[in-house]
Symmetry: D3
Subunit: 337 residues, 6 copies
Amino acid sequence: MSKKVKAFGEVMMRLDAPGHQTLEQTNTLQTMYKGTGVNILSGLCRLKHSTSIITKLPDNSLGKAAISAIQSNGISVDDIVIGGNYIGKYFLENGFGPRPTKVIYSNRKESSFCTSNIKEYNLSKILADTDLLHICGIGLAISDITRNNVIQTAKIACSLGVKVAFDCNFRPKLWDNDIEEARKYYEEILPYVDICFMTEKDAQYILGYETNAKGSKNQINEVMPKVANRFKVGIIAGTIRDETTNHTGTLQGFMLVDGKIVYSDTLAYETLDRIGGGDGFTSGILHGVLKGLPANETVAFAVGAGVLAHTIHGDIPRSTERDIWQFLSDNRISIER
Amino acid sequence: MSKKVKAFGEVMMRLDAPGHQTLEQTNTLQTMYKGTGVNILSGLCRLKHSTSIITKLPDNSLGKAAISAIQSNGISVDDIVIGGNYIGKYFLENGFGPRPTKVIYSNRKESSFCTSNIKEYNLSKILADTDLLHICGIGLAISDITRNNVIQTAKIACSLGVKVAFDCNFRPKLWDNDIEEARKYYEEILPYVDICFMTEKDAQYILGYETNAKGSKNQINEVMPKVANRFKVGIIAGTIRDETTNHTGTLQGFMLVDGKIVYSDTLAYETLDRIGGGDGFTSGILHGVLKGLPANETVAFAVGAGVLAHTIHGDIPRSTERDIWQFLSDNRISIER
Amino acid sequence: MSKKVKAFGEVMMRLDAPGHQTLEQTNTLQTMYKGTGVNILSGLCRLKHSTSIITKLPDNSLGKAAISAIQSNGISVDDIVIGGNYIGKYFLENGFGPRPTKVIYSNRKESSFCTSNIKEYNLSKILADTDLLHICGIGLAISDITRNNVIQTAKIACSLGVKVAFDCNFRPKLWDNDIEEARKYYEEILPYVDICFMTEKDAQYILGYETNAKGSKNQINEVMPKVANRFKVGIIAGTIRDETTNHTGTLQGFMLVDGKIVYSDTLAYETLDRIGGGDGFTSGILHGVLKGLPANETVAFAVGAGVLAHTIHGDIPRSTERDIWQFLSDNRISIER
Amino acid sequence: MSKKVKAFGEVMMRLDAPGHQTLEQTNTLQTMYKGTGVNILSGLCRLKHSTSIITKLPDNSLGKAAISAIQSNGISVDDIVIGGNYIGKYFLENGFGPRPTKVIYSNRKESSFCTSNIKEYNLSKILADTDLLHICGIGLAISDITRNNVIQTAKIACSLGVKVAFDCNFRPKLWDNDIEEARKYYEEILPYVDICFMTEKDAQYILGYETNAKGSKNQINEVMPKVANRFKVGIIAGTIRDETTNHTGTLQGFMLVDGKIVYSDTLAYETLDRIGGGDGFTSGILHGVLKGLPANETVAFAVGAGVLAHTIHGDIPRSTERDIWQFLSDNRISIER
Amino acid sequence: MSKKVKAFGEVMMRLDAPGHQTLEQTNTLQTMYKGTGVNILSGLCRLKHSTSIITKLPDNSLGKAAISAIQSNGISVDDIVIGGNYIGKYFLENGFGPRPTKVIYSNRKESSFCTSNIKEYNLSKILADTDLLHICGIGLAISDITRNNVIQTAKIACSLGVKVAFDCNFRPKLWDNDIEEARKYYEEILPYVDICFMTEKDAQYILGYETNAKGSKNQINEVMPKVANRFKVGIIAGTIRDETTNHTGTLQGFMLVDGKIVYSDTLAYETLDRIGGGDGFTSGILHGVLKGLPANETVAFAVGAGVLAHTIHGDIPRSTERDIWQFLSDNRISIER
Amino acid sequence: MSKKVKAFGEVMMRLDAPGHQTLEQTNTLQTMYKGTGVNILSGLCRLKHSTSIITKLPDNSLGKAAISAIQSNGISVDDIVIGGNYIGKYFLENGFGPRPTKVIYSNRKESSFCTSNIKEYNLSKILADTDLLHICGIGLAISDITRNNVIQTAKIACSLGVKVAFDCNFRPKLWDNDIEEARKYYEEILPYVDICFMTEKDAQYILGYETNAKGSKNQINEVMPKVANRFKVGIIAGTIRDETTNHTGTLQGFMLVDGKIVYSDTLAYETLDRIGGGDGFTSGILHGVLKGLPANETVAFAVGAGVLAHTIHGDIPRSTERDIWQFLSDNRISIER
């Protein structure tokens, strides 16, 4: 039987003010349970992969609600450790036009996951039935504990022969803009990574690759082979996003495999929900890799998955293979009866 | 006193996932009761005509809810037969951007209407006080029963001197793309039709009129007189729709009367709700015919009614004569205090 | 590793008018996905058993929504067959005081499950990893197809050494009050049953055991041993329900094991949601059996589970072991901070 | 064909704070369109009578909304005059336990109806096809205009041979507790009334009949024949209500016909919505009168209709004949599948 | 301690049909409490000024709800007179595309405010602690009472040395298009005004200044100095609005100070809510004046405040100084974490 | 002018699952902002006292929302310190019948208030215009910081001649049931208290007064004078609550003044919302004290205020003096038109 895809990462509770109201205007909030790991595994479940999330959640009604939501996407909860005090949360006030979206964190550092010890997870057992492990780079930034957990997890996975997918997800503010500090840890983890999600900007800012090339494509062509070469990362993938308005734009995917870079077509997108759009692309790439699709097919599929993920409310990609290929085909439909 | 406009057709329950959510994401559905017949009669009620729907509904709370909704539009329910097991239903998952809208039928063929026998309706009595009868072409496709009912109804109406308006509403999928089969029944019913709603594509695909003309207008000018001539249909009307995006575009109406074709201006539209937009145009044409307006005025009014119907949530046209003429006038207003 | 509990049964979509409104009054419905099998397995998941539902669902957005809801309860969907046209549905108009609750079925007999062939399920494989199989008696009544499926399933499970739990769930109206007809099939299935859920009224009406004993308890004491003896059913369990008002009453559980009957205390209950209350008791009994608890402890636990299930909105029991023992203990709490 | 039942009365917009919230707590209101006349006619429509409301509503979106709501109940709107400035409104803050319900009127005296001239209604034509006309006594109190309209309407109906049903609906506050003033106008209208809805308290307070009898029943027996005799009112009906709590109690109906008083059984009721509960009883009595049922059957039916009206949200009685007889029968049901 | 900004004006209850539904389609309304005075003071409260509204509200639950809403914005309610019968209301049916928004007033002229006598407010005491008083020009139009109140208030404020800000807010329909009548009263109040909000169209239509200049800017340059000069108004401010679609456009502010006119940049805007957009600009200008900012900074800030006010649901500006300067800066952000 | 009542205490965000749903069942939460201090001041605002809350809230959208909610009740926010990271929160899952309500805290100890330093509040200035200061005993338990803040505040108030009202609010779990530890701090604060809210159980458990008296009243009569005497507390007040069901019961108030104990009548109550019911009684007592009402009138008023507070959704008492006296009078009303 096929092995599992797992992700090591935080599951957060998201609480949205409805529509475009401010938190001051409303007394009703909409809740979701999400996180980079959950999002990507949810996408993979729709693509018929077997998945499991490795995380820690508290033993209370919010922990139960998170578990129920994770299960609803088809992700196994067998690897979740129960304990600690809090689920991490964020409140979201959706912007409009020039008014910015506002995110307010709650229990960010005190969450069950962020205060967990890596030994609680019994990774050697958990990873024994695993093909591919996804790790999100935000953990490198939150605290010493999470940084250590993330790096240890990558090392253990590597030592067990589990493929490691790593999403840079670099957020300068979480590092207090201290690039030097960040670079140190990104450089520490990359040698254990098999599949890396990264943009040309990440390569420049985090890893310090300088280039005089103009435009994203030329920069990608110049710096990505160097990154792949230095850290022995077999696959690097990412997107080139060109925003037309704050809810429309174009998306193109790229994928470096064995030193060669393949690009998808450039597709127009419309955004229903700003947060979490990139996780559709990631699940598309991982799908192609797991199925052994050729690189050009993989990146085409991934960018299709990414564009469709923009049309879904919430962070969770929900498209099936049929949905994605239908969208990429010549005869798109507007009503499916 | 003036006679009534009646429609023979199915009333369905529509259940929408709210906003752009998928059915998987929501536990709340919005309900409406609609159908081509109900929609058009509702439009005519707002234009101050006396109307009645001929249909069959079950004797349960959903049947009652449908009747209440039909009545709320001012349509008489005196001609509704009560019985059978089900009201037909469809669930609607509203698409977004490139993600298609999805429609899922329930009890389509088992509905009270679709399993009814034409004799249950006592048409000779029901049509005795009727000026104009509207029939929808979808009934030709659902099943042998509904096809027979639709054709019989047209014949009886014709024999009683009631004017027959027929909306082609051709849906290839319902015919399993068997054009030959469809053509046979469209050809059978058209001789009994006085007012036919049809596009130049219908004329080509269903009836087989070939043309080398370029553009909708030239094709209409070439094929519609042939259709009118062959089947002795006095009036043929329809729209030329040009979609700019999936919620904006332009609409132009045409109307053939006594062999002469009149066009309206081309108006821009914005769509609030994708489903049922064309029924506003249809009720506008029928209003002009019933009031004896000149063709150019009728088609202008109809296209105005059509554009306004796109701005209403749900299938039901809700504009009054004043609303429509105000919209068509030179001094449109944006706030009416 | 521990084996699984499975259930063979229909999953239905429930659509409720909110609060105590009639279907005519509202344009908003609340949806749930439920069924005796799903309810009981959900209860068992909360009690930390591994479960899987054996059913058939259509390949459309409603089928997906059902699967998502089933998964959210922790039930495996690996044994679900995808295909057919419809999910069965019922609309619910919640009564108030003397006004009755009204249930309207839709696609009852045309559902994917009710039109499925028993061979589609590959039961010999599905039941290979199964300890206990739950079967609901409603299937005996719906149609010849479902009756055959239910009986075949019981026989196959029995032949594979899987324990069979059977819930009589007798509804006279579904049998057109033809008791003779019903008895025939109940008598056919009972020899394959290990654990039977039944009331003293079922024993009298369905199986024809006459008794002059007064009161439920005396009747149970008289007839249940006869049933157990005749059909070689090891365990029979059920409740004595005494309604005080339409939302309060008392509940007592009984359990016959190896010919001996044990009763729980009589507990008061309050009802938040009328439908599906008994499934909490059933999951409590199965939990005791699976854990090898003594009969008196099992029936005490089950009636506690049953009372708590009455306090939950919807059909799904949601109590944990800790919740139930806490409720049964001397120091119940009203606020848990 | 059968003639119509009509009502002359105001249609108001009701705006409720949801649940038991105060108006200060909520930013969402629920709307309904109601009035004694509309309520009673709605009840009669469910009992299969043909009805029409005589009122006046403004030519704006609220007037249209009211018309749509009236139509949804099956009431004809052909006799509604369109014009004036306002629809009367009231805001309702639903009490809880000892906290009182609060009603705040808006545009009470400035409403289209309350400022209408009786000549606008063309009553001689409107009443020509009418069997029975219902008039509500509140109109006697609002203003000189409405008082005059109400009395004139009764006189015209009487002169045309239309049966007049009159509901006393005495509200001391509207008369500034000036009983003498009120009595004058009640005495002026009663000679034109055929069916009067009145309690023994009304007879004492408004009409000044003194009695030493103890208990409602004895007082009814003593004073009602005197009222009937003096004003030549053929039928007097009303209820004896005994409140146990603020949402439960018992209801008994009485009906004087040709000098003889008949009582119904005393039935328990539970209240879902405090406002408008008595209109179910009234429609039940009128149904019995219109169908020519014997007095004992009429009053039994009416009190059943009244109890069921208490179980419905909003003012509108929604029970069918089958619902009411089923409720009054020995085998009430709690779930109707 | 700093003095207060006060506003003399009506507070109305706004009742919206949700989304783009018509009032006929919905049974739920959203409520707000607003008015030019409340809106502007709310904006100033967010900008850290001390404010108070001078108005009259009824002593009932709606009056309380209004007071609670006013307080929630930080405005003092100490100067509100309690009494009278009604709060003024309007119902709003939000248009879509070419379908106009519809506003229906209720108790417009009968409201507590509009029927109040100017002596009830004890203005000499209320204005003693006041720096700046805002008056809205709509009061000039409603009735003789409100017109007199508005003019008297301006005169008293002027005599007490309180700065008067006056918003023309000219609505031809309220004056039955009688410009001559309107001009008389605008001319009467302007000599008491220190800061006037006015467009070049107001200057032409209301005050009769003719000009051959082309374009708003040239007209402003020509006529505004004349207005300022004639009526000795120190500051005149307003916006040039250019609508691209019905929810996008550009906004430019101007401000005449001591005879010199300063313009802001032209900024693009997107509209979330059509009603009340201009009050953000007004509060921005008053903020600059109260803080003694230079004119170019004031008008830049004001137009930024105006654009952000378009992005907020409801009439109330909610931006802080930080929000506005951030928006006007070079590095706008789209997500603020 | 009259001085202010202030409260030193935390303001929390409350997030409720709607109705009786569990947190797992819903994706919508209702929010409120509350706390013992805010609740009591809100009650006093409705009773026309001038109030201000002394607390600390974060500089983000949730802090703003809290401030808006506090202001909406009429409480001044001038004494609120802005800073820190979090507002304290709790999620509430409302129980039903025997199912317990569940409360889950979030950022309890990390909140802006709980991490604030007492020096940030500038108490000598803040308390200069204060008559009465309310302090809640929960602060004694949360952490060393809050305990120190609470005790320091009481001492400073005492030294400035401000009357101190203290609510014991003893929660054993917060003290890990370490009574000895708790007693130490309660004994430290009581000498600075003028008005103490306490039950006879508090006196026994926290302060260690033993008694053999039977029943609450006898115990109160025995121990309260000893408490008052020892700590020189002029006024002690509290309630005797007798729960009949989980939403009904009786309430009696007592008040010790100058060594003499006065009792109110025993009133029945019904509960709409379980949390925060006692704060209505407290605000009633403080109202009587501030107005100088006699003790018997004060305690009668307070228990009336308490019973009405049970009928309001949320924690905030909303009754006016008129509401409370009307409720306590002989002629209660059920509908106020």
